[in-house]
Symmetry: C2
Subunit: 338 residues, 2 copies
């Protein structure tokens, strides 16, 4: 089969790869129905994250089970399944506490931008849908594998509850999903920081009540001005840079909640600033597996329509164009069809 | 009157100061019954915190109201009162959310190591006792003004609940009060990191079930070993150094809670380490005012005996010896009688 490899900054290749095979008795092989490019794929694509040689890419996926190892009991060939970007056994202490993405047996999925994928710990990682979903459900279901789960975690970790004022820092796909999630969890006011008209429009569709175009100190001043000088109850940091983290911390009210869900790059937090900010800080890799059953149901019941975040659909062999379009911010998120 | 001034590292003087007077109509003047030296006083005493010239010292106090400004309605001359080290109006949004130490009108108390003290925002800052407390209640009541309130906040911010495993990093007075607080909130196991036999004994008296003498990486390894490799539910950081913060973060389980209640000195947190630790982080200056009514009641009802933390009692004029004894770790905490 052919799949996606990143050779270095800007160098995505769609090339011959070995067909995946069952390695451990707990593995499953799935035929990928749809996959996509993640914002986190852009860090190494932009040369902003070190690489150890050519790397197979992709960690968002859903598809049909082809084959399972002999110890797999909860999914079977022919079932449509969705899994997290992080594998989990679903029973270790970290999983039991709801932090599946820190499972003691965790591996990070890679190689999902390909027609077939090996998923370790299949029983703990994959969640089947009740029946084979229709084609138009695919984009929405695919989002539950990472980008929606991550946005959902941003809202959950920032303690979004009915009536709160939330700020979303970042208008990438995760920021947009965080907006949808905050809305779904009952936030009364959702302020999204964005400068891009198309993304602003989608943010409003997903539930944003206000848009702030200013950034840095000006952005902070604007949010404080909009919240009577106090700051927001919940601030969802969906970027992962020093500037976005500072912006998030400085716009949270004393005793409020700041979440961060994108891997921080070059971020150092001052102990004294954190201390006097009086915020609650929580985040990390989203425990997507915990949310999958609930999110799959919300998508299938058409309560939410997160699939709108895909504004570019490409055949898998054009994956390089997907990276390029996202890198140049011509696309929010590229869906790939094997 | 004579009071306490710090002129520079190691240079504490007890010298003639102006008698405090009502400045604002919301002020009260109190005659200080007992005061004490705080661990935070040791930072400038040790030359580890910059000073702007000679500084009046002291922020822990309780005593009898002498005089009140014309707008003060909730306390009156002759009442015994206790206040926080931070003033608060008790009605701004930050106070309403329970973060009195970030009150929008906050001032930090200073000059309390003296016979008389001016307390701004008296109505919002001071809490009277139901009657004049007996002499033997004074040490316990004094702790509620800062050190107990801060230890209590450490436990509260680290989400200590019945049944949890808690780790206390630091065996200073705040660490010992955090131990007592964790016990009072129902922690099942309380591991205190301490190398000092006298402090270990007091920690055990306050509720410690285990003592760990190792520090740094060895200390982390020991705690992980004691918690099946998972880490503790609640870790209470009561020191404020880079090493103690790292130790706290690295001994908290994924999804667990780390609190920090001592002003961080030279602490920088790595965004990536924080991210993958999956912890909840919360802390800051303790909102002592919020806890005062509850803590005063626990002391007066003799449910807790936090006054034991004072292992040195001096007449106020010997305040310099109090600083010295604490600096040299000959004393845990020095109580001063004007």
């Amino acid at each position: 089969m052919k799949g996606t490899m990143l050779y270095g900054p800007g160098d995505v290749r769609f090339e011959e790869l070995d067909m995946p095979e069952i390695v451990e008795p707990t593995d499953a092989i799935i035929r990928v129905s749809v996959t996509c490019v993640c914002g986190s794929d852009l860090w190494p694509f932009r040369g902003l994250q070190p690489m150890n040689g050519p790397t197979p890419m992709g960690h968002e996926y859903c598809g049909v089970v082809e084959e399972v190892g002999k110890d797999v009991t909860s999914v079977k060939p022919g079932q449509f399944v969705i899994g997290s970007f992080a594998t989990s056994d679903n029973h270790c202490p970290n999983c039991t506490y709801g932090y599946h993405s820190s499972c003691t047996q965790r591996e990070f999925i890679t190689r999902a931008q390909a027609p077939y994928l090996r998923v370790p710990l299949a029983d703990g990682t994959l969640v089947p849908t009740p029946e084979m979903p229709s084609e138009d459900m695919m984009p929405g279901l695919l989002t539950t594998s990472d980008v929606l789960g991550t946005g959902w975690y941003a809202a959950d970790a920032a303690n979004v509850k009915p009536g709160v004022t939330a700020v979303v820092v970042g208008d990438g796909a995760v920021g947009l999903m965080a907006t949808l999630s905050a809305k779904q969890m009952g936030a009364e006011r959702i302020i999204v920081m964005s400068r891009n008209p198309a993304r602003q429009a989608l943010a409003r569709e997903f539930g944003a009540t206000d848009i702030v175009e200013e950034r840095g100190d000006e952005g902070v001043a604007r949010i404080l001005d909009m919240t009577k000088g106090i700051g927001a109850d919940s601030v969802l940091e969906c970027v992962g840079t020093q500037q976005s983290m500072q912006q998030a911390i400085r716009t949270t009210r004393r005793g409020g909640y700041t979440s961060y869900v994108g891997v921080p790059h070059g971020v150092e937090l001052s102990g004294q600033e954190m201390f006097f900010s009086h915020i609650h800080l929580h985040g990390g890799p989203a425990p997507v597996r915990k949310y999958l059953p609930e999110l799959i149901k919300l998508v299938l019941d058409e309560v939410i329509d997160p699939g709108k975040v895909f504004d570019l659909v490409l055949p898998l062999e054009q994956v390089a164009e997907g990276y390029k379009a996202m890198d140049e911010r011509r696309a929010i998120k590229a869906l790939l069809r094997p």
